[in-house]
Symmetry: C2
Subunit: 139 residues, 2 copies
Amino acid sequence: MASDKDYVLDDQVGFLMRRATQRHLGIFGSQITDLTPTQFAALAKLCEIGEVSQNALGRATAMDAATIKGVVDRLRKKGFISDAPDPTDQRRLLLKPTASAWENYDALVGAAHQISSDTLDPLTEGEQAIFLMLLRKLI
Amino acid sequence: MASDKDYVLDDQVGFLMRRATQRHLGIFGSQITDLTPTQFAALAKLCEIGEVSQNALGRATAMDAATIKGVVDRLRKKGFISDAPDPTDQRRLLLKPTASAWENYDALVGAAHQISSDTLDPLTEGEQAIFLMLLRKLI
DNA sequence: TCAAGATTGTTTGTACGCAAACGGATTTTG
DNA sequence: CAAAATCCGTTTGCGTACAAACAATCTTGA
């Protein structure tokens, strides 16, 4: 008989979440190729907020200071972020989306919705709502 | 009024899964410090299987060939994996857990169970079962 | 049988993701 | 007001993760 101590990797929540994330990233990559999911998240938040410091954008997108720096660097290289020193705080780098950022964001929002929809497609609508509700409790 | 096209990052399944995974990795790191979650997954599978080629271990743990190579290299450096060429297939590297691997695995299984339990702790037992069931459908 | 195709392990390059440390700027507090 | 604490952006180092390419080795099919 199975002991309480049995450990089946494939039944562990961490392993299942990693695999579900892998599938989601595959869906994302097949529909949006110019930006990574992380870059799109930062772009979306930046367009949502409008003007924000680098670290604050990181907090808003759940990326630490080291991670958001690399993401912002790559978005700037793509021409999606312009920055200027904050006149009221000399430590801060004030980020703003460029016109090109808005164009790309607007063009990609539909695909982004589709990606979320495709990710949840194996579930019924009711299950999707339950899943998202439970997922929110695990943050 | 909100348009159908509104995109709220914080409501997207990908973003929520990333944050839930972050929380889980934090819980893991606070209870198991000698091994990363990925390394523990590979170790657990290796102990479960017993003897397996490197790429096959990667498939069993949802890691591609490049990723599993690095993980195996680090586990070997820690003394948890011994390898030998497969006599029946000269391409294959046959991996086996060392005695030290078994000792460490046995010693850590309890913590691993606790990590899964802590990760799901915000949910009731019924919710946990539902969440895992839905998560499995999203793989 | 033997050429075509697949698989094994490897390397390189890019991109998160986090810990830790750092100097400089700002805020808090004693 | 000055010291302590905090926050800002940066760098380094390590560990996933995956794409793409590669040589060596099997396997298959005509």
